[in-house]
Symmetry: C2
Subunit: 209 residues, 2 copies
DNA sequence: TGTACATCAGTGAACGCGCGTTCACTGATGTAC
DNA sequence: TGTACATCAGTGAACGCGCGTTCACTGATGTAC
């Protein structure tokens, strides 16, 4: 790996093909959708023979997993960036939830790849698994802090996190595939309604039972 | 349609092929999953030539839509059956939400077909659209009644329904594809945890804002 | 400093797959007269 | 009551597609000596 990225076009070896394929796959996914994302198409776009990717990934699923992992890393960054300078626990929780929604809306196909059934056995891809866990833990932290601030006990923080995650995820899927469901409500001001809904959730989270 | 279902095997015409295909497609979906559900396979299972289905459905999507519509009709029945003899508005809301979850867990592939992207432009299939709306309206009614019981105003009932639907749907997807996400929490007693989570939601629903 | 050789990262042809759909057809049914 | 004919619901062969993957290969790189 001494000359990574040195030669650009003329050399036989690419030097950085793995990253290039992931990058190209990502942009293909965002522009053309998941259906159009095939090994061959990615190879074509990268200007490389159609079997070259197999030297870097365990079949098609391997490439998909790598793309999804990159997606989770970006989601993590997006979430943490949104949290910057926010101090109030309640605000932080709301922020991290809304950020998730924004991310999903901005990258629907990626979002679908990250969570959908296209990649089976996600746990078997360490890179993907780690990135997903890291992203999830941002939410987890915010929920725990919020619970602590409101009732002093972070006892059922796990369930509460799952509840928050349910809200985020459910709404994200709904907003991402609008033809799915209640069309009336969501015509306009999606983020406003989302905030309203999240507020109800957050309120419910803080109850003592 | 005078002799529907009269002759069984020997006759050239099937007599009830459309229904038979939907039925067969449904069972194929449940046993083998969405990937295995092709026009040809359904035709094969029904004992009919592989092009016969095209006389009854607008291509593959048409068949899928018919199956999904049947799914929504069953979901509707399941929900209303669960509500029978329940009187308290809060209990009724909880019941209808849990019933949704149970249905999804019992028929994961069907659930995925009903809500996933396999059928594009769902609104263009009247049968499907109507069945989906009817099923959704059960939830809508329960939410409205609950709001009325708790605060006397069913003003933001639409948003509240969407919130409840978000909780149902989000959790259903999570429980349906378990490898997705937080594995720790959901090892056991899924319905118990689900109820806990829904309780938080329902509690949040009733807040005055 | 030079050489032999293992290893890695590419190539391109080809296989085999199941699919949705088109096509020209034929058997059965129902209706007009 | 009988006949002609349009229409409907089947058949089966075939087309064309893009795909993931296998295979034998070759060019380039790095390392041991």
């Amino acid at each position: 790996m001494s000359r990574v990225k040195a030669a650009e076009k003329t050399s036989y070896h690419h030097g950085n093909l793995r990253d290039a394929l992931v990058e190209e796959g990502m942009s293909l996914l965002e522009t053309e959708g998941l259906k159009a994302l095939s090994l061959r198409e990615v190879a074509r776009h990268t200007g490389v023979s159609q079997t070259a990717p197999l030297h870097h990934f365990a079949g098609k699923t391997g490439l998909l997993a790598a793309i999804a992992a990159l997606g989770f890393r970006r989601l993590f960054e997006y979430r943490t960036a949104a949290l910057k300078n926010k101090r109030d626990p309640r605000v932080r929780l709301m922020t991290v939830m809304l950020a998730y929604l924004e991310f999903a809306k901005a990258h629907p196909s990626l979002f679908y790849l990250m969570h959908g059934p296209e990649i089976p056995e996600k746990t078997t891809f360490p890179e993907l698994d780690e990135a997903a866990t890291r992203s999830y833990s941002v939410l987890e932290t915010c929920v725990a802090e919020y619970l602590q601030a409101t009732e002093g006990s972070a006892e059922c923080s796990r369930e509460a996190t799952l509840a928050a995650w349910t809200a985020c995820y459910g709404l994200a899927v709904i907003l991402t595939s609008p033809q799915n469901t209640p069309r009336m409500v969501l015509r306009r001001d999606q983020m406003g309604i989302a905030e309203k809904i999240f507020e109800m959730f957050i309120h419910g989270l803080a109850q003592k039972d």
